[in-house]
Symmetry: C2
Subunit: 225 residues, 2 copies
DNA sequence: TTACGCTTTCAACATCTGTTGAAATTGTAG
DNA sequence: CTACAATTTCAACAGATGTTGAAAGCGTAA
């Protein structure tokens, strides 16, 4: 079998180095030589394990995507099951989306922080945002919107999707950890404090969604479909 | 004097080409030769007008930043003046932040769309997000938070800044125009329809901010300062 | 016209880029 | 130990990259 035995799996060292560097400088801002140096490995080794550069990038993205999805899907199904046969509350749905990825102890590991910053890079890239995010996260998102549809039956789909857009933007910017809010707030908020940010974002986003149900005049568009 | 006279100002052609390419592929994803080709100009000309590559990038960012800021600052001061001596409403403040840049006719110009996508790229970049955004947009943001402080006197600064974080993330993702929401919503929402997105984002964000005033239990942290 | 300064092109540089094939090393099973 | 396969390094390639200095083109004022 592969893996599990080697003391220092250079394959993983390369993935870690690539993750750290891609997350900070983007795909084109990183050379295979820089990755190899960071990993303490020869340049050619990355090509041996992953093929061309672009495939290494995909491998980095893929490595943690499934774990991420399973955590959130689990929390979401739990919330739905607990509320059955009633609909779950918007607040619980939103919490199931954020808390598994922002408040658990793993967020303090540098590897996960780097991965989150990488997701931020991909999600806001006009080049890859549309395709890559879709490829990795669409099934979860669809399940998530479905749950919101249950909790907010009077709200039109168009509102739900734009609400998700706002949610995704807020989460993504938190992922990026640019340090901007630190400077803006004079140190009051820290962009690397993801659990701390979670509380505020959850409440903010919950209210944003619930507002759609309270402002029925916007829902005229529902009839247009 | 400079400018104004030449029929085809190649300097502007270079800025336009750089803007379009940087916004799609990021700083490192674009070569000076690609920019020169797009502009129909020799490679060396970019260096003559702007110096090294990095300075060209800054020049692209700078060109529209002041216009953007003046539009929004004007709208914000107008809203504050109209409400005086009372505090302006949260909804009006948020509208003053979004509408000048999302609903005016200029958003249909490719140049402005490219510039917005570029802002999305910069804002979510761990490398530049902290410094560049601060450099170009902080004065406006501070004035904006100040207005929110008037409208929501019971809300702690920490909540206001995290609220701004959510707002900024939602706006930035809209700027990126990745086409992701198009796919996710089966064409119901279009990521290049910025005026359409504006309505939903404004209401979403407004409710997010107002929620802070209604959930006083979160405000315990205000006393901790 | 001439002369001059600003703009644009041309040609070339040193360096870096992703990738590859062969050689060396390591691990493992007989 | 031997033989063989998987891993890792070495050396080098063809092409691309940012930058530069010299030359050519341009408008304008004398």
């Amino acid at each position: 079998m592969s893996g599990e035995k080697k003391k220092t799996d250079k394959r993983e060292l390369i993935l870690n180095a690539a993750e750290a560097l891609f997350s900070r400088h983007g795909y084109d801002g990183v050379t295979l030589r820089a990755i190899a140096k960071e990993a303490g490995v020869d340049v050619a080794l990355a090509n041996y394990h992953f093929g061309p550069k672009r495939d290494l990038f995909d491998a980095v993205l893929m490595r943690r995507a499934q774990i991420l999805n399973s955590w959130r899907l689990e929390a979401l199904e739990q919330v739905i099951a607990d509320a059955a046969p009633s609909a779950p509350s918007v607040h619980d749905i939103i919490r199931a989306y954020f808390e598994p990825i922002l408040t658990r102890p793993h967020v303090e590991e540098p590897g996960w922080k780097n991965y989150y910053a990488l997701i931020a890079y991909v999600n806001n890239s006009p080049e890859w945002g549309g395709k890559l995010m879709t490829q990795f996260f669409d099934p979860l998102i669809n399940r998530f919107v479905e749950a919101l549809r249950l909790a907010l039956p009077s709200v039109a789909d168009k509102s739900l999707f734009w609400g998700y857009h706002c949610l995704s933007g807020a989460l993504t910017l938190a992922f990026a950890q640019t340090g901007r809010i630190d400077h803006l707030s004079n140190g009051l908020c820290r962009s690397d404090d993801l659990p701390g940010a979670c509380d505020y974002i959850v409440d903010f986003v919950t209210a944003g969604f619930e507002q759609f149900a309270k402002n029925p005049e916007k829902e005229k568009e529902k009839a247009m479909l």
